[in-house]
Symmetry: D2
Subunit: 335 residues, 4 copies
């Protein structure tokens, strides 16, 4: 069996996770090399036999690299994707594809023209719990979806420096939930109404952003839905989904670190859910990478496309517009 | 101990439940008599020693009746409340107080002037699960409320004849959830946005009504919230609440008929939640009546006031307006 | 409809519960009168229209009393049953029937000869959770039973005075679990091995009794089982059962006062299970009485017979013998 | 940082799991080489840079191998341990150490004399759920242990050929649960009583073995306990533990592949627990290996000793004797 040669660009936490999954858990793939703009960071990969670069263009020059995983900072995505497409490498790119709709559209055109695979990293689609909910919907166990509710709350806000550049809560957080809503229902969102408040940290408001939000959605197929987000629970990652329909209701609950419980005179107690995405979604990070490799090996389409990536951004734009203009916004208003 | 003499007007299912609770489970009260417009229905009470009437005015003439429970049809509430106030009886009235805001305000003024107690039957406030959630909020275990989510779905739609006269889903169903949102948070709702669809039964749409709705709320204290309703689950009553805040998250789950589970090769299975309000809320019906009696015995204020009843109606009006005008509506727009 | 006239003897807590269920919740029955050896205690019934006696023989003389509920102290059961049988009344008797096997056998013979109904109060058979487990077994969802585990622990030990006269933990506590094991499996126990210790209160050991026990059972059909008991949890009543078999595993869990949960940085917390039998088994007390009345109304056999009562006592005797002799004891060793 | 050089002997499923954990998940360790009696099987390791041998003695000759993991067939353990001790390698050995008490004692003496570390692979001690239960006990949240219940049932019986040589259910299955009982309580077992039956497969009985068992235990500290085993659930691995004590009750429940649930008119459904030890205990396999490496790195004692391995075997012997002689057996009867 010849294995798919893969390079990972960007050795931040996400890049390291992808590197380890490729090297250790996906036999059909081979981690050829990694790059980072600083060599010291590239060394973080700590996997034997993997070559290190401080310039991704040298990576793209290698013939034994068939596919590239882009886990660099968001502002570099656009250029790197173009270069990868130019080098005829299949691409796995962390979200978002780019920061403007114009740039996204340009990138998608180039990628399509180059005829390379292009997959976007909406990892949660590969979480075992959410996949099972999707399966229940897909098999018809839920019937026609009527109501979709998504809860998605972080344990703690990110660093303030990050908050300044992340594009705001709708682009940083809700974007994942919009993709989840599309994934779970297999349907498209036609209209959103967004509201929110600054309850966690006053400084987030000073950035013109929100930290607690409620978005409602109207789906093409008739369903209604809600997404609630908060930058801080204080306990852990609170990630739950629900699809209620004509035949039943499928719920995806939080994952905990163990199944122990203690009953004493104060009640019955279980441990808090897993802390954050690194703890909660290891199987999802593995699953998306495995799916990417399998689409290459089997010559099939990737399961999360550039169009999926674009749609989630458009929905985030509509949500922001809805909040700013204090009214429901149709998705086709976003051009 | 002298017991509070109570009469129940209207011997429909709700009136019978109240009668039995008063007669059998509240030692501080005595069920003196009941009435119904048809004697045959009044006979349904089937409690020994209780006198029957087919005219509630005869009931009001009795000196040994100190308090009256109004469980008659909605269109009669206004007149009966006025007559009770005139007869200086304390009043427990099923919701809604009346069908127009004008009528409600008139009734509340008369009741206040008469100086009688006036309690509205929002029974769910007395459900042990929701009370416990409220306790967690009240004690500060949740901290400042940030997000409130309420799920409230019926097992089956009511009879079509009832659907025609019930005032629509916002007045018939969501009204309870608005009261729940106010109760759980101890806060007031300032703005709502309502949307929905006709997914259960086309005929509901032909009545100009919805059967599946999503309402978002903005609270005075800054919290955001959602209420989702559906006229049909197909399984049973789906009644869950959640208050998430700065210190934690309190959830009230569905109640099931037993705690048995079966694991076989298909998975682990539990029975469906309790079927409908009669099955789910017996303790709530008892609790509200006990609270009414205790406020009389102790000379204290009733826990659910006419103002509470009015506010829930105003919120339902705002929701309907929001849906019709396709925009968020501030509560103070409703006069 | 003519209702079954019933008298309740003994107005302790149990007698009061039965009285209220008969008077208020079982329309086919009529509570005619109650008795207690002290008139003051008889007055505790507090149900209108019910006559009071301080001598149960006067009760038995009433023609309108068709059936009698015996909730007096254990040492009086034998004589009262005989008198009831002599008066041709159907009998519901709290366990145990009598304190010696000889007395039980004599009583059972008299009752049979008199041709009156005789039901023993193993209320737990009527608990909705345990009934559901039994249903799973009966329908074959569990297949052939292989393993039965029963957990039965009290929140607090009874008063020391009671401990002195209750016959020991096997007769006071395990006896219920032996009946449960027979009920759940529909099978008979052939051999037991009992062990235990004094861990809760040294004084229990000084009485020659145990407070923490583990009993294993061998069933005729081949299954094995265990019963663990403790006189004190410190939290609440811990009452769980499990039947594992060739097709699956049915579990009956504890019942809690509500379905609320709180998640904060310490974990997810629920309230303790219901405190004791009064809190946990109200539906079981109602269910057994309803079943007794229905067997009279329908002319059918009672669901818990004198033989069931006898068998549970024999099993308790075998358990005690096993503990004393430090060896497994076959049930047919008990004569 | 210099890493601990480790070799894994035996490339069956267990050896492969250990190899991958050492190579990929334990940065303080380096997988130097592996061996198997057939080279083809050794090749199954599929980890780059790892040398392969078909003779473990060549492995022991390597200076860069500091520690050895023995995952070969049971009958080879004794000789390999002796050779490892002779070569002054630290040893991690899968249970059982050897098949006779005499051999175990000899091995333990040799290992002790050689002054090498010796850890036995009771992996379940490292399962996150059972660790958490142990933590609750250790911290005193449970108080003094009163009752310990362990459920341990396999999804399917092993191959018949394996059943013939495994030593019987007490040595193959219960042995793990005896170790678990000691681990959870931190206490020693003084006496056991074992019973059981052949309910799964008649042929198991023909081997003179049981497939369904119930063992009770008496602990030195006064607690009582039970272990129930079955060779077949038909659904999946059923692995639960409970420690009840003077202050509370800690329970370890089954682990499921996801946290999704579906409610429809038939009830609420979750997926079956994880299938078998490979699926249920990956973190435990990792945890035990990590603990072994850390004890080497930190120069501390291993957490599961040869004495622990010996004690579990002695308890299994006592259980078998108890069953055969149909009586409780004190552990000190086993010499």
């Amino acid at each position: 069996m010849s294995r798919v040669g893969i390079a990972v660009l960007g050795m931040g936490r996400q890049g390291q996770i992808h590197s380890r999954n490729i090297a250790y858990r996906i036999p059909e793939a081979k981690l050829v090399c990694v790059s980072d703009i600083t060599m010291k960071q590239a060394e973080q990969v700590r996997i034997e036999g993997v070559e290190l670069y401080d310039d991704y263009r040298k990576v793209l020059a290698r013939k034994d690299v068939e596919a590239v995983v882009i886990a660099t900072s968001t502002d570099t995505h656009e250029q790197i994707i173009k270069d990868c497409a130019g080098a005829r490498k299949d691409i796995f790119c962390e979200k978002p594809i780019a920061t403007s709709l114009k740039a996204i559209d340009e990138v998608l055109k180039i990628v399509e023209k180059a005829g390379v695979r292009f997959m976007v990293g909406f990892n949660r689609r590969f979480d075992p719990t959410f996949r099972r909910v999707r399966e229940h919907v897909e098999k018809g166990s839920v019937g026609s979806p009527f109501i979709v509710n998504i809860t998605s709350r972080d344990p703690q806000p990110p660093h303030f420096e990050y908050l300044k550049v992340c594009g705001g809560i709708f682009f940083d957080t809700t974007v994942h939930d919009f993709d989840m809503a599309r994934y779970l229902t297999g349907d498209e969102i036609e209209e959103v109404y967004a509201m929110g408040n600054v309850l966690v940290d006053r400084r987030i408001g000073e950035l013109g952003d929100l930290d607690t939000t409620m978005v409602t959605m109207k789906f093409r197929g008739g369903a209604v839905g809600s997404i609630n987000n908060c930058r801080k629970t204080g306990y852990s990652y609170d990630q739950r989904v629900e699809v209620f329909g004509s035949n039943g209701c499928a719920i995806g609950n939080n994952e905990t670190p163990n199944r122990a419980e203690l009953t004493n005179s104060d009640g019955t107690h279980c441990d808090v859910p897993l802390y954050f995405n690194i703890e909660r979604y290891p199987e999802a990070f593995f699953g998306e990478m495995k799916a990417f490799v399998q689409s290459i090996v089997n010559g099939t389409a990737v399961p999360v496309t550039g169009i999926d990536g674009r749609k989630a951004v458009v929905l985030s734009m509509a949500a922001k517009k809805s909040w700013k203009e204090h009214r429901p916004v149709r998705i086709d208003e976003i051009k």
